[in-house]
Subunit: 683 residues, 2 copies
Amino acid sequence: MPMHRLLAALLLSMLVHPAFAQSPDHFLMPMPQQVASGDGELTIDPAFTISANASSDARLHSAAERFLENLTTQTGILLTPQALVTEKAVLSVTADSPGDTPQKLGEDESYTLTVSSSGAELKAPTTLGVLRGMETFLQLIKPGANGFVVPAVTIHDHPRFPWRGLLIDVSRHFIPIKVLKRNLDSMAAVKMNVFHWHLSEDQGFRVESKIFPKLQQMGSDGQFYTQQQITDLIAYAHDRGIRVVPEFDLPGHSTSWFVGYPQLSSGDGPYSIERKWGIFDPAMDPTKDSTYEFLDKFIGEMAKLFPDAYFHVGGDEVNGNQWNSNPRIQAFMKMHQLKDDHDLQAYFNTRLLTIVKKHGKHMEGWDEVLHPELPKDIIVQSWRGQKSLAAAARQGFKGILSSGYYIDLMQPASQHYVVDPLSGDGANLTAEEAGRVMGGEACMWSEFVSPENIDSRVWPRTAAIAERLWSSQDVKDIDSMYRRLATTSDWLGRRGATHQSSYRPMLERIIGADGVPALKTLADVLEPVKGYRRGQLRKFTSQTPLNRLVDATRPESDIAREFNAAVDRLMEGKAHPDDAASIRSWMEKWRNNNAALQPRLGGSFLITEVAPLSSDLAALAAVGLQSLDAKEKGSTLSADWLQQQKPVFDSAAQPKGELLIMVLPGISKLAGITPAVPQRSQE
Amino acid sequence: MPMHRLLAALLLSMLVHPAFAQSPDHFLMPMPQQVASGDGELTIDPAFTISANASSDARLHSAAERFLENLTTQTGILLTPQALVTEKAVLSVTADSPGDTPQKLGEDESYTLTVSSSGAELKAPTTLGVLRGMETFLQLIKPGANGFVVPAVTIHDHPRFPWRGLLIDVSRHFIPIKVLKRNLDSMAAVKMNVFHWHLSEDQGFRVESKIFPKLQQMGSDGQFYTQQQITDLIAYAHDRGIRVVPEFDLPGHSTSWFVGYPQLSSGDGPYSIERKWGIFDPAMDPTKDSTYEFLDKFIGEMAKLFPDAYFHVGGDEVNGNQWNSNPRIQAFMKMHQLKDDHDLQAYFNTRLLTIVKKHGKHMEGWDEVLHPELPKDIIVQSWRGQKSLAAAARQGFKGILSSGYYIDLMQPASQHYVVDPLSGDGANLTAEEAGRVMGGEACMWSEFVSPENIDSRVWPRTAAIAERLWSSQDVKDIDSMYRRLATTSDWLGRRGATHQSSYRPMLERIIGADGVPALKTLADVLEPVKGYRRGQLRKFTSQTPLNRLVDATRPESDIAREFNAAVDRLMEGKAHPDDAASIRSWMEKWRNNNAALQPRLGGSFLITEVAPLSSDLAALAAVGLQSLDAKEKGSTLSADWLQQQKPVFDSAAQPKGELLIMVLPGISKLAGITPAVPQRSQE
């Protein structure tokens, strides 16, 4: 690593690494409601013990076991398993009650953590608060002068919103239980409390039904969860203070149901599992009683399997084509005075709601389910935005926000971070109305997600969303967020999330182990195209291998963000002492990297598409270096020369291999050359 | 990465990375007995299918499932689970018989693999051969011009030795089931077939006994395997063609037994679990009938739990102190005409053998159990060397070699690789005698091993031992071994072994994420001290945290080996074109690294000890650079100057933080300066 780069990294790290941080809040995420630093520090050594009052609560015991395992992982101190002692311990835990099973929406998650040089106390009304406080304690551990320590501190903490979720779409690409558990661990680490399990789609039905076995037998390619696995996963989540809300998307997004049960559909069939991405015609037939008889039995079975009080029925994106082209359905609509598809879907929802309620659940659905006549115990999940959410709240409905939290769109953490469920239209709600906004959910739609790279699409960005939903509304400093996100990302990685560790093997597959350093230099400043662009650039099916550079590359390039920020400071005359040197050193690295990479680029089909990106980056860096030279010498580059360089920028602004060069804005600013077509990195 | 370094890496990689290899045998390990390259290649794509004749064999089905999972991991091609088809498939598998349960010593593991552009055939006498051949097929997959391919090839293969084992000591440090399974996966990948589970020691008794529950309750700190876990692990191993041989070390190494059952010992007790490392006095009392009554019941229970035909009773390192100081035992020896401890141990072994045989097992033990009067169905495991092994074979005993394969001693792979069970005294055996040498076992003693770093102590070096035991005796080219070991190491890492992935998090714990590049530059050329030196340099107990740089650092530095070899070539006038540039570039990096690292070295107790290593390396590199300058200019450095630099080498030759600077030999040769005290890197 060049010296300047390293020095810059060192300076930055002195702000962020626990070992060098000045204050405990430098490495906490989500930021607690109140943090007061004390004097001194508590030593963590092999004599560490933990005590608890609530010895009758099995969940507290397993939490303590995991806590000790995580303590070992973080420190390398080999603790043997220990019973919770009741006498004085290093960490003394008190929970007033064990909390509910299943966990309830709005259950008290508050805790108080007091650490001094002589010991630590963690107190909470329920075990749930203890779980949250334990994660805070773990985040506070750092290496000190003579051993691992936790700085003295008093923390009073509670969540701002009671619903802090992550949706994982396991239908478009199947995600094995092991991978889900790993992600539940990370969710718990950042205090999230709802796992929204998106279980059925056109592309796959993922749950074993004993009553209607053809659902999984014919609708899943053999990729589904057994009921035993589901029960285990729910227990695993509950242990971590996470509710599991299942979603069965109806009446659209349901092709996979119809492979085994074509009679449920509004068309003729036969059906096969959908392999493409998009919105498709097949929809359930809302006009037949047999549809509701089926759903009654099915939801009855699922309501027993999933103990949570909420049951998500989807309801989004019905294009109505099957309904419109089916004369029987058209006749039914006329007879029942249903003037359009929306009315027909409302009719369906009303009957569905009766079934859901009959089986003891509250219904949840996407924006489209909203209908003024629905009862007020439903929850609306808004993918359309704060406006839609606020409108629902005004009508008396509870809601959660997902618009702005679609992490499949490859937006930077900062973009999600500024989205607040109570901003925009939400800011104008009365206190009572605002109280109906329960929180939000990050959504991991899985068109371009495999078990191998899902962690890197979810983490660390989702930790920023977790903070938005847990911490005070005034916690919104972007720089602070990014500093703490970096620490949190490393912490999650050490605890088992694979968002960092999957990177190298994926690069290695593309270029071989020895080519990784050069490929990584390139990949480190790339990002996948944004929004829904990827699907427009190339044809994909569910079987398209996700093994290309775009699948390995991180959604957000830290280096590009830092580089662009350094250029901004330089151009605004606010440069930090090392900015110019860092900018030069980075650009030299990129310019030289192409020569190192090019000889490798013919080796295999996975590498070929990388070549133009590497040339583009090198060409950009070369122009950037000349511009920097001129700037430092106080000379000016000729208009002719600038004009000649413009094609470099025009080319680099075009996505290649579905990837964008994210340092283009910085170099563009440095050179004063704007590409003809904007990069559209934020679409 | 400096250009020269990178070019050197590129040149090297063109020899080793599958994508660039000329011939399939460039990436196979262990090397098959016969490999004949063909024309063309087989494409691996989402249409891949696998068929099998032996559909009645459950083991073949689960092997095919794992095979497909590994195929997905290697290629990123998303294969859905598929039944073994019986019609024509891309890979057609035929096993003549399912093989034995439990697996037998010497069972046929041969296979024939034929790959052409139109398909592949894998044929074997038993499922065991299929398992081996599947791993070979997976090793052959590489990225081609248009997709993943397997080159056309015909391979006839079988193992040289029937016993190719890995011992893991789970007693000195407990190793959880999850970690063992991960290591079984890697063993299967390199065709090893015996997991030797070293289950009891002074420091811990790791098995649940239902008859004598105080063994685990009082002897394990709560760290033991339940019988259910053991049964599961054995099934897991059997699925992978691996036998599980349990070892209960007797009559010494047994303090942990006596915590719950002091009456078994030859001393007075009470006992507590031993926390230190070494050889301790406690030993079972061989004179009491009650000892054998206990062992009869215990071994009866364990013989049912562990189905393998062999049962290892240890027998090593009894120091005799308790026997010698116990008048009752001395009187017993006199009465039975047992002239010394060796005779007393033989008496014990004879009675123990009766018990082991009664419960249907063959006895196995370390060298010390050998006694001419023992029956010939026992197996002797030699930790003393080929001489001892050959002597046993001459007496008619079967044996396996472990001397030379102690991977806890931190020796390079090449040193283990040259050890052959049939070299040394073994080379003079008759064919019949040699036939009694069954193979060997790598031994992972765990004084300095934790679940976190065990993979990095076992892999990749054990793959070189696996090749020694599988491949033909004339496969012994060290350079070829190292090239294929690098590929194999990456391959094992992608399949789940953590020997590579644990490195970064352990460095991160020491210095924080941003300090890792600089610390890694240093750590990449360090190795832990060799042999039994570490325990002499510092006091350790089983609770000493294994979180220091020495615990993160790899047993063998690839960079140091490559650097030293380049210097050797340069000094011998046989330099490769880039050697001089690479040597310079490396040394510049090391010289500059200290400045980058020093500001970080005061941050925490884990970093402090790194400081002198970093200064030493920088000082060495500075001298090396001046020497290289002189050499390239054809000038000579003055004797005075050389004398002044000598203290740099004297200091660098001293271990610090239990670590050695492994590029010292190369720089020493370059400068012509020999440290006063040799580095003793190979002791």
